[in-house]
Amino acid sequence: MSDHTPILQMKNITKIFPGVKALDEVTLEVRQGEIHAICGENGAGKSTLMKVLSGVHPYGSYTGQIIYQGKEMSFKDIKESEKAGIAIIHQELTMIPELSITENIFMGNEVRRRGLIDWDEARRLTVDLLKRVGLSLNPNTQIKNLGVGQQQLVEIAKALSKNVRLLILDEPTSALNEEDTENLLNQMRELKSKGITCIMISHKLNEIAAIADSVTVIRDGRTVETYDVEAGHVDEDRIIRAMVGRSLENRFPDHVPDTGDVIFEVSGWRVEDPLIPGRLICKDSNFFVRAGEIVGFAGLMGAGRTELMRSLFGRNFGIYQRGTIKHHGKDVKLKSVSAAIRQGIAYVPEDRKVLGLNLLDNVRMTTTSANLKAVLNHGLIDSSLEYRAAEKERKDLSVKAASVEVGVSTLSGGNQQKVVLGKWIFTEPDVLILDEPTRGIDVGAKYEIYRLIHALADQGKAVIMVSSELPELLGMSDRIYTICEGSITGVLDRKDADSEKLMRMMTTTSDAAAN
């Protein structure tokens, strides 16, 4: 399929941010018609490289050469790279939730007739484009009503509308469940068969194995190696070694659980949807967690795991109807987030940009933002205390940042996630709810985060872990609950669990399947 002429060569690309050399003489060569994977640790410079390529970082702000389809390119902005047929789908989705699919696809690229936007034509084109990515949706649907997987496909449709030749996907599957991921990978194969070249950044080595024709590994802003792979036969260990500089025997650290009494127990928890009256998002859920135990929650996208956790966390989401929470055997009423935090409950949200971070803050202020009283001195914030606290979390979690004074918006995705985690560890919780804690985190850092979760459990904390990655749940949890359409459909002990059983329980609402 792929011939050997390169469609793209990036030569000696160097990009310096104030205080950070994000890219240091990086070289990348991508052949016509292939799927090229880029891997590397968090903060290695993958996203930055793609932003250089797509003109987000304009010509002149970096050094080095971009040769695309045989010509040297100097993109001043995204518009120019799009004109050349390069489209990028960013790590964080950038569509406007309140607008329709059609409006988003043709934003900035409107179909005009006699100076006015021709919406009928635009909608017709949208239906065609959606068909090309395997979606049959009403083009008037608002983006906010789509699942993340569908949004991702709409982004691709948007790229297709611009006659893309080279499609860049920055961690496209990090927010997808397995089914959506499979679907997306199929679409990428489809694009490839139509001669579109893809560059894909991913931390998921199994995906790379499944789909990539060649791999480039980047470490600390330098290209470590590039080599061809045969789809289906990727030496994952080789990639890991190149990425982190050593091999990683186990994906999950060893851990012997040391569980104590039940310290967190939820019964009869019923919550109504805040927007659609009468619709329940939690249907009389019951579950418990012991001290020192790691309890996983499995479920498909939209099953209501996040909603359940947020409703428990000081009723941050939904309309509470009934149900009780027992903390250390005592009934507690957590009517506000601050009450929940005071009780020693922490919730690390799944979407760091929207729910976890104030992007205007620096690392120091983010770390203390949920527990300011710990850095008060005579009622005033003591900047020394705050600095030391933030510095400690930064070291403990090995966040890659020049100092705690840098803005969180300049950190790479994975490091932002670590900062959010640090913010919640700093509240000294004894019940820790982690919603997709390793989304977008590289294998090496994942391992560290797993170790950290184990350490927290060993301190006697109850850990609740929501994850869309079944291997992660199977590798980490002592027990796993499954949720389907707002109901808890069953629970499995670690030794009894496997992905098949979980999958079945995640897709059936009747309790029968569980037992």
Binding site: P18, A340, M365
Partner: protein, 423 residues
């Protein structure tokens, strides 16, 4: 250039603003043939603008939470009028009348905060309503006639510090004392910050930039003290200026060093994340609006003290000057960015423009045109600077994105969703 930057320390922007201000003053002084930098003019500059700057203190907090308050002028006028009326018609002593005026301000703030925090009506609408209501209110209760104010208030609006101590200093000793305190406080703060930084980070900032900074700022403070202290006998640094300085210090500490201050920035930066961090978003809205009207009442009273009477049109267009000061001071319309100190510099730029143009004999019409252009230029400069430094941030490329998601009514329902759940 690098050296200059070192002297400025981290606050490059603030220093450029201060330097722009100084340049502006020097230029006006040259054009007006030395009439700008005189004791009398500077004393006027302070007492004639202190009330706007007091408003700007509250306004920057309102803008940081991502709201705006259009009613401050009307509220100031209304509270001042209430005070004047209670003193004249109910025979309240002046201090009781002042308390009544301020209390009314707080109540008005609670009223506006209620609409915003509990009902989720955006501040723009809430206070647009307030602007009309209280403007109408002043005219109504005053029957469109000016009401004389208790003469004791003159002290707060245009008074001077007492004269005492030896005469050989050749100037007002209160002002001298103020200047000395200012210089020492600045030097102490700078040195303390340096040692603290060194202790924490282990990085040793060179001593010379700190010393140069202290000498420069110290010289400016010293010069100003001399200027203010050597005016006509009986004059000094104006009392409203002292009130302003005290308020600036208090609010600087509130915004930078207290939990409430952090919450203001958190809510303005990302409301949803703030709520998930345990910030009570409606309460933060409420208190910020309450505080704004409290300061508006204070500003109204200071103004009336100077004018010696409360008039039905007092406060007209003050909100515009206050808002302009905040944005010239570098605050962001989308919230989360802005400081009290920078706002004060922004407010002084406006004040100096007013005064300088007046000295040059430029009419009010053209002054307004120039002020408008300066506002645009200052904000454009800011936007340009930010683009240079932080081009890559997605949020910057799609600035409307986040606001759309959580702005207006939907955001407020997220905030009050918790309350509904309790009932």
């Amino acid at each position: 250039m690098k050296r200059i930057k070192e002297v400025m320390g981290g606050d490059f922007r603030q220093f450029t603003m201060v330097i722009a201000l100084v340049v502006l003053i020097v230029i006006f002084n040259i054009i007006s043939g030395g009439r700008m930098v005189t004791s009398a003019n500077f004393q006027n500059l302070i007492s004639g603008n202190a009330y706007v700057l007091v408003l700007a203190i509250g306004m920057v907090m309102v803008i940081v939470i991502g709201q705006i308050d259009l009613s401050v002028g009307s509220v100031a006028g209304f509270c001042g009028m209430v005070m004047a009326l209670t003193a004249r018609d109910l025979n309240f002593p002046w201090w009781a009348a002042v308390l009544v005026g301020i209390l009314i301000g707080v109540l008005i703030g609670a009223w506006q905060g209620f609409w915003l925090a509990k009902l989720g009506i955006p501040g723009f609408i809430t206070t647009l309503g307030g602007m009309m209501i209280f403007r109408g209110g002043v005219i109504w209760i005053s029957k469109s006639i000016s009401v004389p104010a208790p003469h004791e208030l003159k002290m707060f609006g245009a008074g001077y510090l007492p004269e005492w101590g030896p005469a050989f200093t050749g100037m007002n000793n209160s002002t001298l004392l103020l200047g000395v305190i200012g210089i020492f406080a600045y030097a102490y703060a700078q040195l303390r910050r340096r040692t603290k930084n060194e202790k924490l980070t282990g990085v040793n900032e060179a001593l010379w930039p700190v010393v140069v900074r202290i000498v420069l700022v110290g010289a400016v403070i010293g010069y100003l003290a001399w200027l203010f202290g050597t005016g006509r006998p009986g004059t000094s640094f104006p009392v409203p200026g002292v009130i302003l300085i005290i308020l600036v210090i208090i609010y600087h500490i509130i915004t930078q060093r207290t939990t409430f201050g952090r919450h203001i920035y958190a809510v303005g930066g990302n409301k949803a994340a703030a709520a998930l961090s345990g910030v009570n978003v409606p309460r933060t809205y409420f208190l910020t609006m309450l505080n704004m009207s409290f300061l508006a009442a204070l500003a109204g009273i200071m103004f009336i003290g100077r004018a010696t009477a409360a008039g039905p049109s007092d406060g007209t267009n003050w909100e515009l000057d206050a808002i302009a000061s905040v944005f010239i001071g570098g605050a962001a319309v989308s919230g989360g960015i802005g400081t009290v100190l920078a706002t004060m510099v922004g407010g002084m730029v406006m004040a100096v423009l007013n005064s300088g143009l007046m000295l040059m004999g430029v009419g009010a019409d053209r002054t307004a045109v120039i002020k408008g252009l300066v506002l645009l230029a200052a904000v454009a400069f800011d936007v340009y600077n930010k683009k240079q430094g932080r081009k890559s941030i997605i949020g910057h490329l799609f600035p409307g994105n986040k606001d759309k998601q959580e702005g207006g009514a939907s955001g407020a329902s997220g905030g009050s969703g918790g309350d509904t759940g309790q009932s």
